[in-house]
């Protein structure tokens, strides 16, 4: 069953533009130039219940605009969408009871009060039955291990602690869809991992649908199976995260530790990424040469102490996809 359906969604913004310089400033005061940008262009996709979707793209690609349309905040210029059977911009308030959102950059906790006070307030805002609220709150508090933080004013919490409370705040009313916008931004490695573990746990237990935007490849890898890449308002890829690797991974990385310092190495289909002392880092284009052959040749030619073969990190794959999007556009233009 599809929880989110989007067809041919468009959103255009108008804004002012000016050139630099004093005169241009004065001119822009008198007669501004109005430009129009297409933030979201004919996008379409669907998300089924319990699915975890990563919605990614470079800055300014139209991610937030899309989320804002799906939560009913923005009216689209044209197109259709439904979330849990509601048309978001027409039935925003009703939809609000059914979805939750966590914006890493925007807090919903009252800054000077302990999180518990905000939780209580939210329980009234979402009109949750008292007993059900307390049960749910206690469960989430236990799960997120924030028992000791509940009575501390938010301003005294660390970012990681606050983020856990933010997520609880957005889950109190038992939403069916959770929108996460950069939930781990600014967190350290341990805190990030903790947030990810909790989100995946909740997804499994409550068959919560997750709609995630993030620049952090770790978030995507660990939370989502599917990924939609959007660039300049258009969907340029919609597939499984594992497909990303298969489709875009034409390369492998080989790390070598050698027993002697080698002379210059030249192998067919292999690029030397880094060479320093006894260490060496190679990239193999697997479409040109199979990895087995390359390794055979290396072992034959060099005295190898240690060898590691790995995929390039997800960040690089994503960067590659963005770059190809650019190439395609340039070709068209």
């Amino acid at each position: 069953m599809n929880v989110i359906e989007v067809h041919d969604l468009n959103k255009r913004f108008r804004f002012k533009r000016k050139q630099s310089g004093v005169w241009a400033s004065i001119r822009s005061v008198i007669r501004p130039e109005i430009h129009e940008v297409c933030a979201v262009k004919d996008i379409g996709f669907s998300v089924s219940q319990g699915e975890a979707l990563a919605f990614i793209g470079p800055n300014g690609a139209g991610k937030s605009t899309t989320i804002k349309m799906l939560t009913g905040i923005l009216h689209p210029t044209s197109g259709e969408a439904s979330v849990l059977g509601f048309v978001p911009w027409q039935e925003r308030q009703r939809l609000a009871f059914e979805i939750g959102s966590v914006f890493g950059q925007k807090s919903q906790l009252w800054y000077h009060l302990p999180p518990l006070d905000t939780f209580d307030l939210l329980s009234h805002i979402y009109e949750i039955d008292r007993r059900a609220y307390r049960r749910r709150r206690d469960r989430l508090v236990e799960l997120f291990r924030v028992e000791d933080l509940l009575k501390t004013p938010v301003r005294k919490l660390s970012l990681g602690q606050r983020m856990r409370c933010e997520i609880i705040a957005s889950l109190l009313h038992g939403p069916k869809v959770l929108f996460l916008d950069e939930p781990t931004v600014g967190l350290d490695v341990v805190a990030k991992q903790r947030i990810r573990d909790l989100i995946s746990l909740l997804r499994k237990e409550e068959s919560l649908t997750i709609f995630l935007t993030s620049h952090d490849a770790g978030d995507i890898k660990e939370l989502c199976r599917r990924v939609i890449v959007i660039d300049r308002g258009e969907v340029i890829l919609d597939n499984e995260v594992s497909y990303l690797r298969r489709r875009y991974l034409r390369t492998k990385v080989i790390d070598l530790k050698l027993e002697t310092i080698p002379d210059a190495v030249e192998l067919e289909g292999v690029e030397v990424l880094k060479q320093k002392g006894y260490g060496m880092k190679l990239e193999v284009d697997t479409s040109r040469r199979s990895i087995d052959h390359v390794i055979e040749e290396i072992v034959a030619r060099l005295k190898v102490a240690d060898i590691t073969i790995s995929d390039p990190p997800l960040e690089e794959i994503i960067a590659l996809i963005y770059a190809r999007g650019n190439d395609r556009r340039e070709e068209r233009e």
Binding site: K18, G21, V22, V29, Q105, S107
Partner: protein, 269 residues
Amino acid sequence: MSRRWYGRVWSNARFVVAHLALNLQAAMEYRASFISQIVGMMLNDAIWIFFWFVFFARFKVVKGWEFSDVIMLWAVLTVAYGIATGIFGNALRLSKIIAEGGLDFFLGLPRDVLLSVLVARLNISALGDLLFGLILFVFAGTLTLGGVALFFLVCILAGSVIVSWFVLVNSLAFFMGSSENLSMQMLNALLSFATYPFPIFSGPVRFLLFTLIPAAFIGYVPVMILKGANWWFILGLTAFAVGLGLFARFVFLWGLRRYESGNLVIVRV
């Protein structure tokens, strides 16, 4: 480095003018905001003139002060304040900058710290004050060469007193940590006392207005100079402006030694 003093003055003047130009340019980036802040401030001032108009329509003279005197008072105050916070926009926010460790950036510049921080920001609404004051002066002032020169002289002196006072009270932040509230109260007190006819205050308060809260020097004394041009008043105002300026600078630099830099974590509210 043995540059002549006028070389330094010239270089600093160019520094100030460059900032002013850049700030103006940045301000005009926001078209409606720029215009509305200026017009808004002018209306704001106009409404106080309106108050005095209503007041004097009913009571004519209060202790020798007439409506025209209050107009002159407002002309001086708005032009002085406009010049002061227009060029030295950060004078208003100095305590916040100090408390939040914002001086770090300015300490890294190859310039006088106090001057750098003060000119880094333009108070756009100050342009509204300036314009308003000039209009008042055109209607109420003496439009001779000497009259105009004298007006600008007293405005610059009063403006200098305002900036010095702001620097002085904001420097409390070096000694007290976050002193924003206290500084703001002191600024408001100075301006509030200055906008009323001086003679309504009784003896001890008058003494206070010449000393602890030097409102008399930005309102009463300039108006008296414009009305009578008594040389002693001019001399007194000049001496006070220079003295307060030096004192403010001394206190700021003294406080700077206790500056704790930017260990403040910027919280996201």
